[in-house]
Amino acid sequence: MFHKILIANRGEIAMRVIRTCREMGIATVAVYSDADKKAAHRFCADESVHIGSSEPARSYLNIERIIAAAQETGAMAIHPGYGFLSENADFAAACEAAGVIFIGPPSKVIRALGDKTVARRMMVDSGVPVTPGMHRAETDPVRLAEAAEQLGYPVLIKAAGGGGGKGMRIVASSDQLPEACRSAAREAAAAFGNADIYIEKYIARPRHVEIQVLADAHGNVIHLLERECSIQRRHQKIIEESPSTALTPILRDKMGQAAVAAARAAGYVNAGTVEFLLDENGGFYFLEVNTRLQVEHPVTEMITGIDIVRHQIEIAAGRKLNLSQSDIAGRGHAIECRIYAEDPENDFFPSPGKILFLQEPTGPGIRNDGGVYSGATVPLEYDPILSKLIVYAENRELAVKRMRDALSRYVILGIKTPILFLMDVMDSETFKQGDTHTDFIPRHFANWKPTPVNPHGACLAFAVHELTGKKRSEAFSTAKGQFPTPWETLGNWR
C-alpha cells in the first residue's frame, strides 16, 4: 500500500479523501494556491505544498507543479478528486510517465471516454443506446448549424472535453446558435483546456440517472446501484438520491448491466460513473462516463455501506476487489443536498465571501462532508461548493423529513446559500412524490423567493443581540452620538 498520497484538489473533496487516507494509515500531502493559504483542506493534511497563485491554471491545473510536489514530498500516488485535473488524460499520462500512481483509470481510458464523441461511438459499437446527435466534435459554425437543423430544435451544445454543465447550452432556435456555440466553446476551453463542442438532440423532461461502477485491474467489474440526479440548476446537480423513484428492480438490473458492459468495453479501471438519460417510458440513453469520483458518491456509500474512496485507493495499489456483485445491496434511502455559496434568488449565481458563522447539523443519519469553517473565506476563483449534506433513513419519506430538519439546523451566516430553497424543495409535494426531472427547478421553482421569517422574532433577536453584544453596543452609541453615558444605563433613560 502507498505510504503517502498527494491530493490534487481543495475543499470538501480533498478533506473527504484525506479522511480515508488517515484511516488507512497513509500520510497525506495537500496542495494549495495563494487564495487557499487558510483553506480547511490544507490544515488536515500531514503536509501542505504551495503550488502557485490563485488562478486555477497557475495552481490546481498546473500539471508539472503538482507532479513535482508529489516527487518532492515522496508521495507515491495522487488522488485528483473531482473537477480540476481529475478527468485530464494528459495529467494521468504525466503521472504515469513520472512514475507516480494516478488514482483513477489509465490515461488512455480517460482520453477515450473524455472525448464525449469517441465515448458515444464506443457505446454504439457495444450496443448501449445513445441519444441521437453528432459523433465528432466540430468547430465550423456552418456544419454545427447543419447538424442542428438535421436533429431539429431544440438541440443541446455539449463540450467534448468534460461535463459538469460547463460548456453546455440548450438552443431553442437557429438564430441563437452562433453566440451559444461561441460562449460554450469559451467556457469549455476555460474549464477543460479544450474548446471542442458537439450537438445532440435535446431530450425534453428526462431524468438523469447514473450507475456507480468499481473495476479492478484484474478484470472484475461491479456496479453499486444507481443515483437519481435529475434536479439541477445551471446544468449542475444540486440534489441527488438513491434509490431512484423511477426505477423498477428490472430496469435497475438492466441499467446496472449496461453500465458494467460500458465499463468493460472501455477497459475501465477504478471507480467511475456511467450517466444515462431516462425518458418517461423507461428508455435510457448513454450520456457519458465520468472517469472519477463523483460529487454525489456519498449517496451510494450511505445505502451500500461501502467506502468508495478506500476502494479507489486499493484498486490503484493493484489489489483485487474484495466485493462481488452479490455482496452489493442497497438498504434504506439516502439524499444529498449540495450546499454552495450561491444566491437561489438570483439564478443561483455564485456568492463568495467570508463565512461569519457556521454551524453544521449533526445527529442520527446525518453526514456532512464539509470543506469550510467559521471565519473561512470562500474564494472567487473556484467552484463555490461549501459542503454536502447527506442523510440516510429507513425509507424515502423519512429521509425527506430528515433532510428538511437537518437543513433547518444548518447555520451559515455571511454568504448566501440555497438552504432555504432546498428546505422548500423538501416540503414540496412534487419532490415528496418523487416527480424529479431535469426541468424540476424551472418548472416548479421558477422565480422562487424565500418565505419571510417571522419578522417580529427577528426584530426581537436584533434587540437582544444589541443588548448583550459588547461590540455592537459600542457601535450603537457611536451611531446615535447623543448619549455619551455607558450603554448599561441607556435603556432606562428613554
Partner: protein, 177 residues
C-alpha cells in the same frame, strides 16, 4: 428605547424596555406586545423565550453583525435586519441607490469575456451588452433599459468589480428628447 428596523422591504418600528438584571425585556412592535426572556449563549447565538400573551415560544437565534446590519438565522429561516437610524449605513445605501440600478455593472468581481456593443449602438432593454465570467460561470449583463451606448469602459480580459460601470447607456426617453 426605540428602533426603526428594516427587514426585506418592510420598515418596522419597535419600542423596547430592557430589564438586564433578569435577562428580559418587554417590546412593542405595531400593536403587539411581547415579554421576552433571553440567554446570550455565545457571541453569535441567543436563545429567547417570547411570550405574546397567548403562548410562549422558544427561539434559537444565530446572529452575525455585518456592515449592513445583522444577519439572523431563527428557527430555520434567515434574514437581514438593518437599523434605519444607523447613519453610516444610510449613507452607503444612498450612494448605492444613486449609482446601481440603471448601470451595467457585475454583481461580483469578474473577468470581462466579451463586449457585445460599441459606442453609439442602440440597445433594447434586456439586450446582452457584456459577457463576464466569475467562478468559472459565464453571465451576460443586460441593458437595464432601451437606449444608446454613450461609452464602453472595458475591453475583453479586463477585471471588473461591482459598481464599475462597464457600459454607459443613455436612456431612450432622454435620447428622443
Amino acid at each position: 428605547m426605540e428602533y426603526n428596523l428594516r427587514i426585506s422591504d418592510a420598515d418596522i418600528r419597535m419600542e423596547i424596555d430592557p430589564h438586564r438584571e433578569n435577562n428580559s425585556l418587554t417590546a412593542v412592535i405595531g400593536e403587539q406586545e411581547y415579554r421576552v426572556s433571553y440567554e446570550a449563549v455565545s457571541e453569535n447565538r441567543i436563545y429567547m423565550v417570547v411570550d405574546d400573551g397567548k403562548e410562549k415560544i422558544g427561539m434559537d437565534a444565530y446572529v452575525a453583525q455585518t456592515a449592513d446590519g445583522k444577519v439572523i438565522h431563527i428557527n430555520g429561516g434567515v434574514c437581514m435586519v438593518s437599523d434605519n437610524d444607523d447613519s453610516s449605513r444610510q449613507q452607503r445605501k444612498k450612494n448605492g441607490a444613486a449609482g446601481l440600478p440603471d448601470r451595467v455593472t457585475p454583481p461580483m468581481p469578474s473577468l470581462v469575456i466579451s463586449v457585445l456593443v460599441k459606442t453609439g449602438d442602440t440597445v433594447e432593454k434586456g439586450q446582452g451588452v457584456v459577457v463576464v465570467s466569475a467562478m468559472k460561470m459565464e453571465t451576460t449583463l443586460m441593458a437595464p433599459y432601451a437606449g444608446k451606448v454613450r461609452s464602453v469602459n472595458v475591453a475583453e480580459g479586463d477585471k471588473a468589480a461591482p459598481g464599475d460601470i462597464l457600459v454607459d447607456i443613455e436612456r431612450a426617453e432622454t435620447y428622443k428628447n
